[in-house]
Symmetry: C2
C-alpha cells in the first residue's frame, strides 16, 4: 500500500509531487494495523457530545473554583467520579503549596488630586454567576510581595526592557516611583521584575481598552469585550526561573517535602503589584504630567498618555494571607497491554481564577469527552497498546502548580516511561493551533488532516493552511506551498506542558482551537457560562473538534506499532533556528555599530527638540563574531541521522517489521530527553531543554536555542560561544541516538 | 581655488573623501564673484527681524481673511504698501473666480436615535480672535456640490480606494449611503471623489482625535491639539484634474476670460461633502452597527469603531452661495540688470481659511522680511543680475487660485523667462524640509549648509542630516553617508508651486521648517496669533531661519554667473524612479498572482469566520512584462550628458568663462521645460511634467514618472508601455539639451 502510494507520487513528468492530505499514511502503523486503527478512530469520532460538554461546563463553572476554594475540591471530586464512571482507574493526588490570597488592597491617587480605586468588578443582572462575590477571589496578582508604598507614578507602556530604554532617553526615571504598565507585550510577571530591576517601588498593571476593551467590540454583557471595571487577575511569580510551588523548586510539594521559607523563595516579586481595571486606571493616567508618550505606546483611553514622573502620586498597599493550600490533581489511567510501560499523558487544568468557563473549562470538557469515549471503547473491548494517563490539574493559574508538583514528584518514572504529553487549556472557534516538539510535527499534521472543521467541512489542517496562506508573509506562503507539513510553533510557557517539555524533556504538544472569538474576560469574574455560551463556541462544535483532535492524538500514540516520531522536520527546524541566530547576531552587531556611530556623530543631540529633549543612549560594546561551527556541524550530523532514520522507518513500516518495533520504541521515547542538558540554562537550572524555553524577559514567548539566543540578545558575548557548544552537544546526542535507531530498524544492532 | 580644493579631497591613503559642508563651493559663481556674493549674503543674513515678523503676524491674522472677505483685501493692500515701502515696484493683480461659501449646512442623525451636529467651533475666553464669528467662514468644504440627502451611514476609514476593497470583502456597500471618513491618508478631495465612484450619495469628513486631537497632547487652549469642536475646513475640488478656478481651466480668470458654467466644471464634487469635528462625529460613529472596523482603521474615540451600513441614518444638507469673488495677488518686482529677462520668483499665499496665523502667515512674514532685506540692499546700491519677483498669492486655500490664474495668465512670459519658483506656505520649529526639482537639489543643499539652525547652532543641513540619520531606514542611512547631497522630495501638490512645476515646467522648490511643533488647529478658527505664539515658533527664530533660507536661495539664483542647475543628481534620481517602477511592476505582478492563487485555492472562503464573513476579492488580470528599455536608454543618455555637463561646468567655473555664461543661462532655464510634454497626462492634460504630478488618487502625494506609475498601480497595462515611451522621450529631450549645453560650455557651439 505504501510502496504503491509512493510510486503514485511520481507524476507523468517525472517530478515528485507534494502529497495531498488524503495520501498521507497513518504514521507509525504497519500495513496490517492500519484498517483496525482507522475503524477505531471512526467509532471514536462519533462519541464526543456537544450537549454533554455544555452541561459539564455549566456544572464546573457554576461557582468560583480557585485553589483552596470549596468548589475547587468539589470539582475535583466530581471529575474523579466522572473518570471512574467512564471506566478509568482514577484517584486524586494532593500537594501542599504556598498560595497567597489577598487581605488588603489599596490603590489611591494622593496628588495632585485624590481618587480611590474601586478594585471591584461589578455584578451584572444578565449574568447569573457574576454576583457570587463572597466566593470570588478579589482582583490581585498572586505572589506579589506585601508592601505599602507611596511614590510618583510613571507610565511604562508594556513594561518590557525596551520601554525602559525609551524612558531613559526621555530623561524619565522610575527610581522610587510606582510604575503603571499595560497588560500585554509580555507575560505579566515580567513587568514587576523589570520595574524592580530599574528601581521602581511598586507596580500597577491595567487592561487598556485599546487591547481588549471597547476598541475591538462591544463590552460585556452586550458584547464579549472587557467592561470598564473588568480586571485581569494572574500570577506574577518569576516563572521563567522556575514554575510550581515557590517553596519547593525541583521537588514535589508533598507533605514531607523540604521547603524553603517564604523569604528564601526567589520567584516572589521584589515589589508589590496589583492589577486594575481601565475604569480605575483612567484617573491615574489622566493625572500624569511629563512628556507625551510615544505614539506606539498610546492606548484606547480618550486622554493624552503621558510618561510622568508625577505630578500624580500614588499610594499602593498589598497584603496577602500567605497560608498553605491543598491541590487536588485528578489522575486517571487506562492500562496498556503490550507496551504498558510506555505512557501517553493528556492534561488540562481544572482550577480557575474565578468561574473560568473559557479558561480552563472549555478545554477540560473536551478532555472529559475524550475520556468518556476512550472509556466506552475500553468497555467495548478495545485495549490500548500503551498506558494512557488523563490528568485534570489543579493550581495551574497561580503558577502551573499541580502539573509541576506532580511532574517533579514522578520525575524518575516519567523520564523512564513518558512517550508524550498532550496539553490543552481552553478552546474557542476557528483554527487549530498547535505548538510542540518538532519530533511530533509530522505526526500532528497527520492528525489535523483527519479532523473535520465544523464551520467549513474541510479538515482542520486545510483550514489552518488557508488561514496561513491568507495572512502569512511572502516567505511563509512560499514555505507552506513548498513543504509537506505545516509548521508548529515551539513551546514557550504559560500552561501545564512546561514541566514535561522544559524540565523532563518529554515530547509535548499544546492544542486548541481559536482565532475567531474575541474577548476581554480573561481572568475576570465575567469568564463564565453566560459569557461563553453567548460569545464563543456557543454550540460546542469546536469542543467536539478539540475532543476529536486530542483523542485521535492519544489513540495513535497509544496504539502505534512504531512510535510516530520523525526527525527530518526537527533537523530542518533546527537549521532555521541556527540561521536565525546567525542573522540575529549580525543584526545586533549592525544595530550596535549604527547606534554607536550615531552617538559619535552627535545625531541624538542635533535632532533633539529642546522643548521635548531626547538624549543619546549608552554606547555598547561592539558585537564580536561567534563560532557557529559546532551548531552547524551538529545540525549536519542530525540531518544525516534523520534521513537515515526516515529511510529505515519507511522500510520497516512497509515490511511490517514488528520484531524490532518494541526495542526501537523503548529507545525512541528518549529522543526528546537527549535534547536536554542536566545543568540547565544559565541562572535557571530548572530549565534543561536546550532547544526551547520561555524567555527570561518575555515569560510566555519562547526562545529557541535559548542559551545562545538570550546571550546574544542581552549582549553577553562571552557566554554565547559556550552556549553554542552546549546546544551543539545536545543536538549531537540526538543525532547519535537516532543514528543508532536507524541501524537497529534496518536490521543492525 | 576650486582646483586646490579638489586636490585636497584626495586623502593620504589615495581615496576620495566626501566633501564636508564647509568645502562646498558657491555653486554657479565664478571665482572672481564668490567673495562679493559671500559678503552680500553676510549682510543679508543679519537683516530678517523676529520682532517684525511677530508684529506682522499680529496684524495679518487679526481678523479672518478668506477670499472675498474685507480683511483679505485689506491685507493685500497692506502687503502692497509694505513692498512699496521696501523699495519694490509692486502692484495688485486681480482675478474673478468662482468661490462658493456656505448658506445652509445640516448634519443630523435621524435613526436609530436623533442628534443634530452643532457644526460650530466655540469661542474661547483665552483666545482673543476666536470670537469673531460674524467674520468667520463657517466650517465647510469648498466646491462641494449642493445637495440634500438622507441615507445609511458607512465608516470608510480614510476613504481611499484600498479602504473600499476592504469594505467590499466584508460585504459592506456604500451604494446609496452617506460615508464618514477620517481626515488623513490622502488629500481630502480624494474622499468624496472615491466615495462617489462607489455610489455613495454624501460624504462627511471628520478629524479623529487619534490623529490630531488629544492622543498627541493637550487640546487647545491648554495645549496645541485639536479640541472636540475644532473643524478642518478645506477645498474638495478635484485638483488632481486641474487646480485654480473651476470655470477657467488652463487660462487666466481675467475679467473677460471665457468661462465654463458651474455645471460644466468637472472639478466640483459629484456628491455633497461637509467636514465635522470629533465632538459632532462621535454620536454618529457610536450609532453605527455592522462589523467592527479592522484594527488599523480605529481612531482615538472611546467607542467601538464599526463599519455600518446603518442602523445609523444621516441627513446631510449643503447649500452654497455660488457667487464670483475677486482675488488680490500682490506682485512685487526688483528689476534685474545684466540678465533682466530671467526671472526668479518667490511666493507664499496671504489668504487663510480663518485667521491663519500658521497657515499661511508664518511663512508670509518670513517672505516679507526677505523682501524688506532685499529692498534695503537695493537701497544700499546692490542690483540683482536677474529680475526678482515676490508674490503674495490670494486664494490658495480654495484651490491654488491666485497662483494658478496668475501663472495661466502669464504662461508665455513665464515659459520664456522664469528661472525658478521658490515657495513657502507656513513655518514651524525644527528641521528644514525641502521638496522640489532635482535639477536644483545640489544647489539647495549648498544653501542649507549656509543657514544656521537656531536651536543647535549647526547648519540647517547638518540638523536635517542628523534627523534623517536618526530616523531613516538602513538604506536611507547608508545613502546619506555615501552621498554628497541630502535628497529632496519630489513635489506633489497642495501649494502654489503646482502651476509652476506641473503646468509650466518651471524648476521649483518648496521650503519650510517643522517637525517639532505638533498641532491640531489646521484650517480651524484656532489657527491664530494666540495659538502660534504659545505653541509654535514663539520667538520667531525659525521665521528668521526661513527668511535666511529663502533669501539666500533667491540671492544666489539672482546673482549666479552660471545658473546653478546640476543634472547628475537628476539623472541618479531618475534611475531610482525607474528601478522603483520596475520593482513596482514585479510587486504588483506577484500580488495579483498570489491573490489569484488564493482565490483559486479558496482560502478566503476557508478562512472566513461565518459570524464575521470576509469574501474573496475579484480576480485580476495577470500583469504582463513591460518594456522598460526606452526609459533605461533615456536614463543612460541623460546620465552621460549630465556627466559631460558637470565636467564642462567645473572647467567653465574654475576658468571664469564669463563669455559663454549668458548664452548657456538662456538655454539652461529651459532644462525643466524639456521634461514636460504638451499633451500632458492621460485624462488630465493640465499636468504636463513627465516626472512629477500629484497622484490621481492621493492628491497631495507625489507620483514620480506619473504616467507610468499610475498605469501600473491601476492595472492599465495597455497604457504602461506607451507612457514609458512618453516619459523616455522627455528624458531624451533633456539629455539632448544638456549635451548641447556641455558642448557650448566647453567652447563648442
Amino acid at each position: 500500500m505504501r510502496t504503491l502510494l509512493s510510486s503514485l507520487l511520481i507524476s507523468a513528468t517525472g517530478f515528485v509531487l507534494a502529497p495531498s492530505p488524503a495520501d498521507v499514511p497513518l504514521r507509525g502503523f504497519f500495513p496490517q494495523s492500519v484498517q483496525a486503527q482507522r475503524d477505531l478512530e471512526a467509532r471514536f469520532k462519533t462519541m464526543p457530545d456537544p450537549a454533554r460538554m455544555r452541561e459539564a461546563m455549566r456544572r464546573l463553572s457554576a461557582h468560583p473554583h480557585h485553589v483552596g476554594s470549596p468548589y475547587d475540591r468539589d470539582n475535583a471530586e466530581w471529575i474523579l467520579n466522572q473518570f471512574k464512571s467512564y471506566g478509568w482507574d482514577a484517584h486524586i493526588e494532593n500537594f501542599d503549596v504556598l498560595f497567597p490570597t489577598p487581605v488588603e488592597r489599596v490603590v489611591e491617587l494622593v496628588a495632585p488630586t485624590t481618587f480611590k480605586a474601586s478594585l471591584q468588578e461589578t455584578a451584572l443582572p444578565e449574568d447569573p454567576t457574576s454576583n457570587q462575590q463572597s466566593e470570588q477571589l478579589p482582583s490581585y496578582n498572586a505572589y506579589s510581595i506585601d508592601g505599602d508604598v507611596t511614590g510618583p507614578l510613571v507610565f511604562v507602556n508594556y513594561g518590557v526592557p525596551a520601554d525602559y530604554e525609551e524612558l531613559e532617553q526621555r530623561g524619565v526615571s522610575v527610581k522610587g516611583a510606582i510604575v503603571i504598565a499595560k497588560y500585554g507585550g509580555s507575560w505579566r510577571g515580567i513587568k514587576p521584575k523589570v520595574a524592580a530591576e530599574h528601581g521602581a517601588i511598586g507596580c500597577l498593571i491595567y487592561s487598556d481598552p485599546g487591547d481588549d476593551g471597547y476598541a475591538g467590540g462591544d463590552v460585556f454583557p452586550k458584547g464579549p469585550m472587557r467592561p470598564p471595571q473588568g480586571v485581569q487577575r494572574g500570577s506574577v511569580a518569576d516563572m521563567p526561573v522556575y514554575p510550581g510551588d515557590p517553596l519547593t523548586p525541583g521537588v514535589g510539594a508533598t507533605k514531607d517535602a523540604k521547603r524553603l521559607t517564604v523569604a528564601q523563595a526567589t520567584t516572589i516579586t521584589k515589589i508589590p503589584v496589583l492589577p486594575i481595571s481601565y475604569g480605575d486606571a483612567r484617573p491615574l493616567l489622566a493625572a500624569l504630567g511629563g512628556p507625551a508618550a510615544p505614539s506606539a505606546w498610546r492606548g484606547g483611553l480618550p486622554i493624552t498618555y503621558r510618561l510622568g514622573a508625577g505630578p500624580a502620586r500614588v499610594h499602593l498597599r498589598v497584603k496577602s494571607d500567605w497560608g498553605m493550600k491543598t491541590l487536588y490533581d485528578v489522575i486517571a489511567r487506562l492500562a496498556g497491554t503490550a507496551e504498558a510501560d510506555q505512557w501517553i499523558i493528556r492534561g488540562n487544568h481544572h482550577d480557575a481564577w474565578v468561574n473560568g468557563a473559557e479558561d480552563p473549562i472549555s478545554g477540560l470538557v473536551a478532555e472529559l469527552e475524550e475520556a468518556r469515549a476512550l472509556g466506552a471503547l475500553y468497555k467495548q473491548g478495545w485495549r490500548p497498546k500503551r498506558t494512557i494517563i488523563y490528568a485534570a490539574w489543579d493550581g495551574e493559574e497561580p503558577g502551573l502548580l499541580g502539573s509541576t508538583e506532580w511532574a517533579e514528584t514522578h520525575a524518575d518514572e516519567l523520564k523512564a516511561h513518558a512517550v508524550a504529553y498532550v496539553n490543552s487549556d481552553g478552546n474557542g472557534r476557528g483554527f487549530l493551533g498547535v505548538s510542540g516538539s518538532h519530533t511530533l510535527e509530522k505526526f500532528i499534521n497527520g492528525v489535523a488532516m483527519d479532523v473535520e472543521d465544523p464551520e467549513t467541512g474541510v479538515s482542520a489542517w486545510k483550514r489552518m493552511q488557508a488561514s496561513q496562506l491568507l495572512n502569512g508573509s511572502t516567505d511563509v506562503r512560499k514555505d507552506i506551498r513548498d513543504r509537506e507539513d505545516l509548521r508548529i510553533s515551539a513551546l514557550g510557557s504559560g500552561s501545564d506542558y512546561s514541566s514535561f517539555i522544559d524540565h523532563l524533556g518529554v515530547a509535548s504538544l499544546d492544542i486548541g482551537y481559536g482565532g475567531e472569538d474575541q474577548g476581554g474576560i480573561y481572568h475576570s469574574i465575567y469568564d463564565d457560562f453566560y459569557w461563553f455560551t453567548h460569545f464563543s463556541d456557543t454550540s460546542f462544535v469546536y469542543g467536539r473538534a478539540l475532543a476529536q483532535t486530542g483523542g485521535i492524538t492519544v489513540l495513535r500514540l497509544a496504539n502505534a506499532d512504531l512510535l510516530p516520531f520523525a526527525f527530518t522536520n526537527l533537523a530542518e527546524t533546527i537549521q532555521t533556528y541556527v540561521k536565525d541566530l546567525q542573522s540575529l547576531r549580525d543584526r545586533r552587531a549592525e544595530q550596535i555599530s549604527e547606534r554607536n556611530k550615531q552617538i559619535d556623530d552627535g545625531v541624538f543631540k542635533l535632532a533633539s527638540d529642546p522643548r521635548d529633549p531626547v538624549t543619546a543612549p549608552q554606547r555598547q560594546q561592539a558585537a564580536p563574531q561567534l563560532n557557529f561551527a559546532p551548531l552547524l556541524n551538529a545540525h549536519d550530523s542530525l540531518n544525516h541521522a534523520a534521513s537515515r532514520y526516515d529511510k529505515a522507518y519507511s522500510r520497516a513500516v512497509s515490511e511490517g517489521r514488528t520484531a524490532v518495533a518494541k526495542g526501537v520504541n523503548d529507545r525512541l521515547i528518549q529522543a526528546e530527553r537527549a535534547l536536554t542538558s542536566p545543568d540547565g540554562l544559565k541562572n535557571r537550572p530548572w530549565y534543561v531543554h536546550m532547544l526551547y524555553a520561555p524567555g527570561f524577559y518575555t515569560g510566555y514567548g519562547v526562545k529557541t536555542i535559548p542559551g545562545v539566543r538570550e546571550a546574544i540578545e542581552q549582549g553577553q558575548w562571552q557566554d554565547a560561544d559556550r552556549e553554542i557548544a552546549r546546544a551543539a552537544a545536545a543536538i549531537d546526542r540526538e543525532a547519535t541516538l537516532i543514528s543508532g535507531l536507524a541501524t537497529t530498524l534496518s536490521g543492525g544492532t
